[in-house]
Symmetry: C2
Subunit: 222 residues, 2 copies
DNA sequence: ATTCAGAGTGAGTACTCACTCATTATTATA
DNA sequence: TATAATAATGAGTGAGTACTCACTCTGAAT
C-alpha cells in the first residue's frame, strides 16, 4: 500500500467519530478494507479476510464497527461529503461571480480540482461507485448530496452564464450533464480504465475545455 | 418481468449453445438471474434465491450451468458481443465512407442505434458494468472486444474525417473518448440514474450532436 | 496496591453458501 | 407399449459467513 494513502486515513476516520481516539489497529482495518473492497467488491470480501490482511483478530473489527456494513459506511460516507464539498460552500454563486468572470475559468478550476480529488481517493471512489446502486443508505446519501446540492447549484451557475450570453440557451440540466460526462469520462479513463498509459494531463484538460466551450458556443460554426 | 424481456432471452441463450435446445426452465432461470443480479449484484445473489424466483429446484440450475460464474458468463458474454457488433462488421470504414459523408451523420446514426440497444438490454448492461472490474474472464472479453475492436476502428474513422478537414486535429483517442463520454453519460443518466424523468430523446440527441460537432469544429468561435 | 475501562483476542455460534447425487418425472423413439 | 435418454428434483455436504462472548492484557486513576 502506497504511503500517501495512510496520510488521509486517520483524518478520514476522525471525521465521523469526532473527539474519539483512533487506534493503530483501527487504521489497519480500514486500510485493509479499502484495498480488498476495491479489488474484489464489498459483497465478495469476507471480514476474516480483512482481519487477516490487517493483522488483527476478527473480533477487533466488530469492536470498532458494529457490522460489516457500518465499516463500509465509515469509509465511503466522509469521502462522499468531501466529493461535493466545493459545491456546498456558502454563497457559492456569489463567490463564483466575483472569482470567475468567464464560464471557461470556472470550468477549468472545477476540472483541475476534482481530478486531483479523484487521484487522491481513487480506491474509495471505486468502492463508492460500485456500491451505491445496491446500498440504500449510500443511495440516500448520494441523492441528497449530489442531486440536490451539486446539480442544483451548478445548474444555477449555468443559467447565470446563459443570461450573460456566454453559452447557448439549452436546458441547463442537459448542459450540466454533458460537461459532467466529459469530466467524469476523463477521470474514469484516466484513473480506472487505463491508469498505466502515460497521460499528458495539461494537454487533455486544454482539449476538454476547448471541446466544452466550443460545444456550448452561441454561434454554430457550420 | 416485462414481456419484452422474454423475447430476446431464448435467442440470447441459443447464441452460446448452438444446435442445443433450450428448455422452458432454463429460460426461467436466466430470467430470474438477470433480475436479481441487476437488483442486488452478482456476489450478493444466492443460487437458492435464483431457483426460488425461477420456480425451479436449485439442482436444475447446476444441470444447465456448471457453476454460478458460468451462469453469469452465459448471460453477459453474448450481450457484450452484441454491444460491439456494429463496429466489427467487415470493411467497417469503407461502408461508412459510402454511407455517411459527414462525421455528423455517422455520429447521429451510432448514437441512436446504441441508445436503442441500451434501452433493450439495460439490466444485463448494468450487471456487465458492475462485474467487469472484478471478474477476470469478463475483463479479458471486454479488453478484447471493446478496446481492440471498437476503439481502434472508431479511431480510424476519426482520423479519416480529420483528414477530410471536418474535425479538429487533436489526438484521435481523446476525441473518441470525449464523444463516447457524451453518449455514455446520456445513456447512464437516461436509463440508470433517472429513468423516471420524462425525457425528450430527440431534443437531447440534437443537443448532443450540436455539442459534439461544435466541440470538434475547426474554427473556435471565441 | 487495587480498581477499572476499554482494546484486543480467538474459539465458538447459528446460519448460508455453492454445489452434488441418488432418485423420480417427462419425453422421444421403437 | 416398452425402452432409452434426458430433465428435474431436493435433501444433503462441507466449507465458509457475519457476528458473539468470555476472557486477557495494558495503562491510567484512585
Amino acid at each position: 500500500m502506497p504511503d500517501h494513502v495512510e496520510q488521509w486515513l486517520a483524518e478520514l476516520l476522525r471525521l465521523n467519530d469526532e473527539e474519539e481516539k483512533v487506534t493503530e489497529k483501527q487504521i489497519k482495518i480500514v486500510q485493509a478494507a479499502v484495498e480488498i473492497f476495491a479489488e474484489k467488491g464489498y459483497s465478495a470480501t469476507s471480514t476474516s479476510e480483512i482481519a487477516q490482511k490487517a493483522g488483527v483478530a476478527e473480533g477487533t473489527i466488530f469492536r470498532h464497527y458494529k457490522t460489516k456494513q457500518n465499516l463500509l459506511l465509515a469509509i465511503v460516507s466522509p469521502i462522499m461529503e468531501k466529493l461535493v464539498a466545493p459545491f456546498v460552500i456558502r454563497n457559492f454563486q456569489e463567490v463564483l461571480n466575483v472569482q470567475y468572470e468567464r464560464f471557461e475559468d470556472f470550468m477549468r478550476a472545477m476540472l483541475i480540482n476534482r481530478l486531483a480529488f479523484t487521484r487522491k481517493y481513487a480506491p474509495v471512489l471505486k468502492v463508492m461507485i460500485h456500491e451505491i446502486p445496491f446500498n440504500p443508505d449510500l443511495q440516500a446519501q448520494f441523492m441528497e448530496h449530489v442531486s440536490t446540492n451539486v446539480v442544483e447549484r451548478v445548474r444555477r451557475i449555468v443559467v447565470h452564464f446563459q443570461a450573460q450570453g456566454q453559452i447557448i440557451e439549452a436546458p441547463a440540466d442537459s448542459i450540466v450533464r454533458m460537461c459532467a460526462s466529459t469530466i467524469v469520462g476523463y477521470a474514469v479513463t484516466r484513473y480506472f480504465l487505463a491508469p498505466e498509459r502515460d497521460w499528458n494531463d495539461d494537454e487533455e484538460i486544454d482539449l476538454m475545455i476547448r471541446f466544452m466551450m466550443n460545444g456550448l458556443s452561441l454561434n454554430p460554426v457550420r
